[in-house]
């Protein structure tokens, strides 16, 4: 069996940043396994700009952003295999993978970094009634067809869900000459970034109907029409509010799901809320030596944060390889309550942690003129006012090791939303 110090599963933005950072931290034996025919992951089809404002202080397209990390991986001489599907990971970190030239092979890794990304929630998962014709696409599939393959999925479009890819595709389809008739969103708020609503819908006069859903799909062979209706507070359609749109295409942007089937084969414990692994401040999962970062851990809005998070995972994996297993002397749980849906990480190790740890989370509803508060035990250590917080925009707080050390007896940290 071959062996590597670190095997990175996935060569998208998370995998690339993690591998580069691990190498810079002094681990030489690293292998990236990528299932697609090129590195870069989903960024390759994100040809719009707006990437990299935090990391590079300039606006890049997705492929440009990916290229910068690819160049670094090339410069660092990190090994990678393309068109390679990982089939299984064990809790002892044996990775089984397959491709056309190597066949099926196994690698013993000292550490594994999970960076498989996420997938889109399909129509089937929504129980939308109606026929099952051609012309129903998840937004990302449509994006791939248009931007990579060069085909138009249709001419007259209704979009369900206002996730970022849906918003981006509303603009993309419009620029390609299609008519986007409406974007319907089940929730009373959008799931996407504010800037995308402005730049992708408002600028093109595309209506966004909040608290609306699709109640019927017409057309047996190809989509011929879509009926949407308003939903009440119980999320059920309100009779009499139906509106019909004739169209040939329905795009779905109704949520992303971290793709953790492989994590499960390794016995990694997952969060019921994020569907991603439960990790500590080093982004190590419940299985020792297996780390996670990027959208497989929790779905991000901005790739800059994926890169930051992945670099942390890479550095910590390298540390694990070099220093070996060191059980934490103490672990403090982070409670997510009162509007905070979850946190990543879920625990911090006050003695082993870095000088600062960024805790990222999402809120469960729209909060106006509220504040993010953090408590060490019962003591409030942070209160930060925010004009608006929404589920579509990730929030963060920073825990300082120094400050935590001043509270040696606490057993938990709490992050919540409070009145300003």
């Amino acid at each position: 069996m071959q062996s590597y110090d670190i095997v990175v599963i996935g060569g998208g933005p998370a995998g690339l940043a993690a591998a580069a950072e691990a190498k810079k931290a002094g681990v030489d034996s690293i292998l990236i396994l990528e299932r697609d025919h090129e590195l870069g992951g989903i960024l390759n089809q994100c040809i719009h700009n707006g990437f990299g404002l935090h990391t590079f202080k300039e606006e890049l397209t997705g492929p440009e952003y990916a290229q910068r990390f690819m160049d670094e991986v090339f410069k660092l001489n990190i090994e990678y295999k393309l068109n390679t599907m990982v089939m299984d990971i064990t809790d002892t970190k044996v990775v089984t993978a397959m491709n056309k030239t190597d066949g099926m092979f196994q690698i013993q890794a000292k550490a594994v970094i999970l960076a498989m990304g996420c997938r889109e929630r399909p129509r089937g998962a929504l129980n939308i009634p109606g026929y099952r014709p051609a012309g129903i696409f998840s937004a990302g599939t449509a994006q791939r067809l248009v931007n990579i393959e060069g085909y138009m999925p249709g001419r007259e479009v209704v979009i369900l869900g206002s996730g970022d890819i849906g918003l981006i595709m509303a603009r993309r389809m419009t620029l390609e000459g299609a008519k986007v008739k409406v974007v319907a969103e089940l929730m009373p708020y959008s799931g996407g970034l504010k800037r995308n609503i402005v730049q992708c819908l408002d600028d093109y006069g595309i209506p966004l109907k909040l608290s609306h859903t699709v109640v019927d799909i017409e057309g047996k062979e190809r989509v011929e029409g879509i009926t949407i209706a308003e939903v009440g507070p119980d999320m059920k359609p309100i009779p009499g509010t139906e509106e019909h749109y004739s169209c040939d295409t329905l795009l779905l942007s109704v949520g992303l799901l971290p793709e953790n089937e492989l994590s499960k084969t390794a016995g990694v414990e997952l969060s019921g809320i994020t569907s991603g692994p439960i990790v500590n401040d080093s982004l190590e999962t419940s299985v020792e030596g297996i780390f996670a970062c990027g959208n497989v851990l929790h779905v991000h809005d901005l790739v800059d944060f994926v890169s930051q998070e992945a670099a942390n995972a890479g550095r910590n994996a390298a540390k694990y390889v070099k220093e070996g297993s060191k059980p934490a002397t103490k672990e403090i749980k982070i409670n997510a309550v009162d509007g905070v849906r979850y946190t990543v990480p879920v625990t911090v190790r006050p003695n082993e942690m870095d000088d600062t740890v960024t805790v990222r989370f999402r809120v469960g509803a729209v909060y106006k003129n509220s504040a993010v508060a953090m408590y060490f035990g019962d003591e409030q250590v942070l209160k930060r006012k925010k004009q608006i917080m929404a589920p579509g925009e990730m929030e963060e707080v920073v825990i300082k090791k120094e400050e935590l050390a001043k509270h040696p007896d606490i057993s938990d940290i709490t992050i919540k939303i409070e009145q300003a």
Partner: protein, 485 residues
């Protein structure tokens, strides 16, 4: 040319009949209005091999169900398709229903179902830990099984084709009549076909053809059933096929593992008139979730569903299979009203219909008939060494195309290039399961389109989901067109 026999419909009954007739020295063809076999009722059902205790004692349905069930093991082996006798349980949740269970047991015994027995509460809950607390007894039929309806249908058709039966797709029979010489003329959208005998295996349309020539008319009601298919994560939720007590609308909403490891829940039963109305409804889905929840606990349908669909049962007013030659229309053989347990009965239906046709034509048997078929290789059960051997011989088996179901390019190429090969996304999906997993073809459809384009030379913008107007991506993007608006 004049065929000896033309079968209308390449569903499971038509394909079973075609395979049986391929044993004889006869010119046989199948006319199918869809672009592939298994395009109607046969593609949307519970995928169950019923034991045979439901159908009325003495009915043709009962006879063919039990016979079909008995034949299925050998047939699955000959056709190289997966089949498992997981056993079925008809569960009662009220002490008062136990009498009904006994009636069902008696009927089953009279129908010739083997090894039936009634299991009491304690044993029952040991057999199925997720049953509702109220479940107090069940009829256990160990001969009940699960099968892939696509594979059964496709395999029988393929084997018939290899043994000389022609299949004409996108060919819809529109009208038929018998001339003075006793030859049948079938008018289709693709011209006229002539034949000595006709088998009417037209599913929900079988009454239409029957009524064109019969004195005594029949009426087929499309009885719609909605289903939900759950993620493979839920595949071990139930080991057996769990039925409620049957009613006059059918066998009720079952919860069952599928042969591929998913969990299926359904069907509802709603009588409609539109023979094409395979749309699911919100009411139907709500109904099935509620009813399925009566017999099992904590079934997370809404959280774990990966797709929902509706099928149409070809329900004949008397709830009986209508099989036989019409006296007033010599050479016209009905195979009508084939609803549940039609899939189970199909091997026996094929044999019975072929016997009738052979009785008319008196053909001789072929010396070189080969009833065995090699299925599409499924490498998932192979050892690493076996896989490497395979990939060395054919590297396409090393390239995964469908991530969710781990389907390789090799399997897709096989599906496209074998007899009656796939030409659409659904064709590939039903033969290989590529696109049938939890992402529902989000990732793999562009790649399968690329393979279909490369292998069959069909332009990408003409590739369909399932034939006809179901084109996936009808135009080139502006960029590909050269930038013009």
């Amino acid at each position: 040319m004049i065929y000896d026999c033309i079968i209308i419909g390449a569903g499971v009954s038509g394909s079973a009949t075609a395979r049986e007739l391929s044993k004889y020295d006869l010119n046989v063809c199948v006319l199918e209005k869809g672009e592939d076999v298994c395009s109607g009722t046969s593609k949307a059902n519970s995928a169950i091999v019923h034991a045979g205790f439901d159908a009325a004692e003495g009915s043709l349905m009962a006879k063919l169900n039990v016979e079909g069930n008995e034949m299925m093991g050998q047939l699955a082996e000959d056709l190289d398709i997966p089949f498992e006798r997981n056993g079925s349980l008809v569960v009662c949740i009220h002490e008062s229903e136990k009498g009904g269970l006994q009636d069902l047991y008696n009927r089953g015994v009279a129908n010739g179902v083997k090894d039936l027995r009634i299991v009491e509460r304690e044993e029952l809950h040991q057999m199925e830990p997720n049953l509702a607390e109220a479940a107090c007894a069940a009829l256990y039929a160990p001969t009940g099984g699960i099968i892939c309806p696509f594979m059964l249908n496709i395999a029988m058709a393929e084997n018939a084709n290899v043994n000389g039966v022609d299949f004409f797709f996108n060919t819809e029979a529109e009208d038929l009549h018998r001339d003075e010489d006793g030859i049948w003329h079938i008018r289709t959208n693709n011209g006229e076909y002539k034949t000595r005998t006709v088998v009417n295996a037209a599913g929900v349309y079988s009454d239409v053809f029957h009524n064109m020539v019969a004195d005594k008319k029949i009426h087929i009601t499309p009885r719609r059933g909605d289903y939900c298919l759950l993620d493979k994560e839920m595949g071990s939720f139930a080991k057996h096929t769990i039925f409620p007590q049957p009613t006059k609308m059918g066998k009720g909403i079952l919860v069952s593992p599928t042969i591929h490891g998913n969990l299926i829940v359904g069907p509802t039963a709603v009588d409609i008139e539109d023979k094409e109305a395979t749309a699911t409804t919100a009411d139907g889905i709500n109904d099935l979730i509620e009813k399925a929840g009566m017999h099992v606990d904590n079934l997370p349908v809404r959280r774990k569903v990966i797709t929902s669909f509706a099928g149409l049962r070809a329900h004949e007013d008397n709830h009986e299979f209508v099989i036989g030659e019409l006296k007033e229309a010599p050479g016209f053989v009905d195979c009508a009203g084939i609803e549940s347990p039609g899939l189970t009965s199909s091997p026996a239906i094929g044999e019975m219909v072929a016997d009738i046709v052979a009785g008319i034509l008196k053909p001789s048997k072929k010396a070189n008939w080969d009833g065995k078929r090699k299925g599409i290789l499924n490498p998932s059960g192979m050892s690493i060494e076996e896989r490497n051997e395979l990939i060395k011989k054919n590297p396409a088996y090393g390239q995964i195309i469908c991530r969710c179901e781990s389907i390789s390019e090799g399997e897709i190429l096989d599906a496209i290039h074998r007899p009656l090969g796939a030409r659409s996304l659904d064709g590939v999906k039903r033969r290989t399961r590529a696109g049938m997993g939890r992402c529902q073809a989000g990732f793999c459809s562009p790649r399968v389109m690329e393979i279909i384009n490369r292998e069959l030379g069909i332009p990408v913008e003409k590739i369909t989901k399932s034939g006809g107007k179901s084109v996936i991506a009808p135009e080139l993007s502006k960029n590909r067109k050269g930038g013009e608006l």
